[in-house]
């Protein structure tokens, strides 16, 4: 049991990151594509479709941070110091995204806050891509401390990751737009999905080739028997979801593309984390060296086992209450 705890926490961490990427991913994707709409009124419809849920979605990031801090304290500060510039960029992007909804409601001139929503979302996505890419490409560590430079996160790999993350969020956002809106805005979502999905897929492929070239251990699990169930199998299933999403859009389905996009992300994450496990900070820091003491991991596990189902339940309740097409006004036209 003691041996298993760090692995369990790695899986929980992956699950929270997955939830964040899917849920805030579509919020941010809606923000990014809102930069391309015809006028500010359409942007208003897009923002209204997120009004009641974006803050709960962002909370998964708070949770993600809290869990690394608690379960892998040796990783938290180390990685954040290494990724200082992209993380500050992300925070600035999130600040503008967060205030844009209410500020736009009160502003006489709506446009600047609509743009703050769009650019804030884009800055957040790009920064997250650089941070994630910077982490996966490897972090310079000497005796437990970060000893690299402030620009170490910048590499061809992280540039590709940033582009792929933007593409992925656009894909999530557009399928959400198809589901939640109607008329020309939904048509716009339909056109954007292919672009986002294409960029995300190509970027992911290029990243995989680069990463396997640098870290041969990544491909070792592909052929081993238990490992391949968690790497190759989800990879193939992910491709299947991807194809089904494109097909569903062509057939004019409204909810299915969004569901397929979520499945695609799910399988992608399973494959990615199974490949890297037990490495948590490449090139060589493992979950076992960085995990908190067993007592902490166990008490947090109990808290999460109780809280997570409740959290998911009322998140679902919230989506259920605001189900259906958005009306374009936050307060239901009063």
């Amino acid at each position: 049991m003691e041996q298993l705890l760090p692995a369990v926490w790695f899986a929980i961490l992956g699950f929270i990151l997955l939830l964040y990427t899917m849920l805030d991913g579509f919020d941010l994707g809606v923000g990014i594509v809102s930069l391309l709409v015809k006028d500010d009124r359409e942007r208003g419809v897009l923002m209204a479709s997120l009004g009641s849920i974006w803050d709960a979605n962002e909370t998964w990031l708070v949770l993600f941070g809290g869990i690394i801090f608690g379960a892998f304290p040796a990783v938290y500060g180390l990685v954040m110091t290494a990724l200082y510039i992209p993380l500050i960029g992300m925070l600035i992007g999130l600040i503008f995204r967060a205030v844009s909804f209410e500020f736009r409601e009160h502003a006489k001139s709506k446009k600047p806050w609509g743009l703050a929503f769009g650019w804030g979302s884009l800055l957040t996505a790009v920064s997250q891509g650089f941070a994630f890419g910077g982490l996966l490409w490897g972090v310079t560590i000497t005796s437990g401390k970060y000893t690299g430079g402030v620009f170490d996160w910048l590499s061809p790999f992280s540039i590709i990751t940033a582009v792929a993350v933007v593409g992925g969020y656009v894909m999530f956002g557009s399928t959400y737009i198809i589901m939640k809106t109607q008329g020309p805005v939904a048509g716009f979502g339909r056109r954007m999905t292919g672009w986002g999905a294409g960029i995300a897929a190509l970027g992911g492929l290029a990243d995989t080739i680069l990463a396997v070239g640098k870290y041969p251990f990544l491909s070792q699990k592909w052929t081993a028997i238990p490992g391949s169930f968690l790497t190759i199998v989800p990879f193939v299933l992910g491709l299947g979801a991807f194809g089904m999403m494109l097909l569903a859009i062509r057939r004019g389905r409204e909810t299915l593309p969004f569901v397929c996009a979520l499945l695609f992300a799910f399988f992608g994450y399973v494959a990615l984390s199974a490949n890297y496990f037990p490495i948590i900070v490449p090139p060589g820091l493992t979950v076992y060296e960085t995990a908190a003491q067993p007592l902490t991991l166990r008490s947090m596990l109990i808290a999460v086992a109780v809280a997570l189902p409740v959290l998911l339940a009322y998140n679902i309740l919230q989506y259920w209450i605001f189900r259906g097409k958005t009306t374009g006004s936050l307060y239901g036209g009063e």
């Binding site: 304290p73 500050i88 970060y146 239901g332």
Partner: protein, 455 residues
């Protein structure tokens, strides 16, 4: 050592700025969400649509306030990792755990039900709406609780031991119920409600003074007075308890807050400095205006009780004096001013002066309420300054020095992020004030029909 080349100083400035700025917003979120619970209960009980309209009016202010709070709160969580790497590594086992619990158990509750509370009026039944409002308020208060647990543990660490520089928890409840926890969580929670009472009362007074819907806003003024009636004396009591606790557990912080240098000899009382200016090199005050015996009386409840002076502590273990001393005095002064305003209002009320026909003749009283609107915030900010500056040079009291806990980053990078965040906070403040002022000058929508009635 210059501001531009010192990563430690820049990181401290950035943390202090972000913390002091962030704190403004949850202070109101905690208090106002509880006020909304009261308003919604009043509406459900009386069926009076005026309470429903109040609910809608004040919840807009809450949402505007909340969005800035969320935006700045994320920076709080991340900067522990970005700027204080050794601290996170040393304390993750407990401190990180608590922040994780805050996110899981509290913030998610608040953010999750806020959407239903704000936008679900016509989508959920009244009962479920009331539940949502209660959960938002509960989530906000619980969130403040966890944050204060984490901070109080930095003041009085307990429940474990340090092994190779890392905190190992032996007893989770012992760490949770560290000796400062009860006094500081209650003091801060009361501060949130007290500040909100004077924000709600101040805004209501402003409307009444202008003759805009005086009947409507007299209702919330009275709600604010009732809140103040409970909170202002309670807060003086809780503040005193906090002071006594600091005397017992962090004597050098108390001495700094009082600019008290020499321990009083047996049989003599320690004097209280009303005003003073410290001379750090000479270990005395350059000037002081004192009340004899009062400091001993306050801290020990005896005229000659011993109060340790700063000279007892090694110079490199002493907190700075000016900031704790003055910010503490400002906070206390505000506490008594607000208590006085409450007493004044109560006397007027008992004489029938808050009746609708007479309230507008009480212009001085209404103005006093209006001008006291920012006072609660100032008390919260100065209180935190005294608390955190008074803990220096330690980050975790007598365990980890602030200077040893900073990430090694080039100063220019921290300088840039400090400037960028400063500019953004300034921008947010300007627009928040513009939009809040616009919302208030537009006033409440008195034509709103409660859900399920009429249209």
């Amino acid at each position: 050592m210059s501001v531009f080349t010192d990563t430690l100083l820049l990181s401290r400035l950035q943390f202090g700025m972000t913390t002091l700025y962030h704190m403004i917003w949850p202070t109101l979120s905690v208090g106002l969400s509880l006020t909304l619970v009261i308003l919604e209960a009043l509406w459900l009980r009386t069926g009076d649509p005026a309470w429903y309209r109040h609910l809608r009016f004040w919840s807009r202010l809450l949402l505007l306030n909340f969005s800035v709070g969320v935006a700045t709160g994320l920076v709080m969580e991340f900067q522990f990792g970005t700027n204080w790497e050794p601290f996170t590594e040393a304390t993750g086992g407990f401190f990180g755990n608590i922040l994780g619990l805050e996110g899981t158990l509290a913030f998610m509750l608040e953010a999750g039900f806020l959407g239903i509370m704000m936008f679900g009026w016509r989508k959920v039944p009244r009962g479920l709406h009331m539940v949502s409002t209660v959960l938002v308020a509960f989530g906000a208060s619980l969130s403040a609780f966890w944050i204060l647990v984490a901070n109080s543990w930095m003041q009085t660490p307990a429940g474990g031991h340090f092994e190779h520089g890392r905190f190992v928890v032996d007893n989770f409840l012992g760490a949770l119920f560290n000796s400062d926890m009860i006094t500081s969580t209650t003091h801060m929670w009361a501060a949130c409600i007290e500040t909100t009472a004077f924000v709600v009362g101040g805004i209501s007074a402003w409307y009444i003074l202008r003759g805009r819907q005086p009947e409507f806003f007299l209702r919330t003024l009275k709600v604010a007075v009732v809140l103040a009636l409970v909170m202002t004396p309670l807060q003086i009591f809780l503040g005193d308890a906090q002071g006594l606790h600091i005397y017992r557990t962090q004597p050098e912080k108390l001495a700094a807050m009082e600019s008290h240098w020499k321990t009083n000899p047996p049989g003599a009382g320690a004097a209280f400095n009303i005003i003073a200016w410290p001379d750090n090199a000479g270990e005395r005050n350059s000037f002081e205006v004192q009340v004899p015996y009062l400091l001993s009386l306050l801290e020990t409840r005896s005229f000659t009780g011993q109060v340790k002076g700063l000279s007892e502590f090694a110079p490199d273990a002493r907190p700075p004096v000016v900031i704790p001393f003055y910010s503490f005095r400002i906070m206390v002064l505000i506490g008594f001013l607000l208590f006085g305003l409450m007493v004044w209002t109560l006397v007027v009320w008992l004489r029938g002066g808050l009746a609708l026909s007479r309230i507008r003749t009480r212009r001085a009283l209404l103005r006093a309420w209006m001008w006291s609107l920012p006072l609660g915030y100032i008390a919260v900010e100065t209180g935190w300054l005294a608390r955190e500056e008074g803990r220096q040079p330690w980050l975790i009291y007598r365990v980890l020095r602030t200077a040893d806990a900073v990430s090694s980053l080039p100063p220019w990078v921290v300088g840039m992020s400090l400037l960028a965040l400063f500019a953004i906070y300034a921008l947010l403040t300007v627009f928040f004030l513009i939009y809040a002022a616009r919302m208030l000058s537009k006033g409440p929508d008195l034509s709103l029909v409660p859900p399920g009635e009429g249209s």
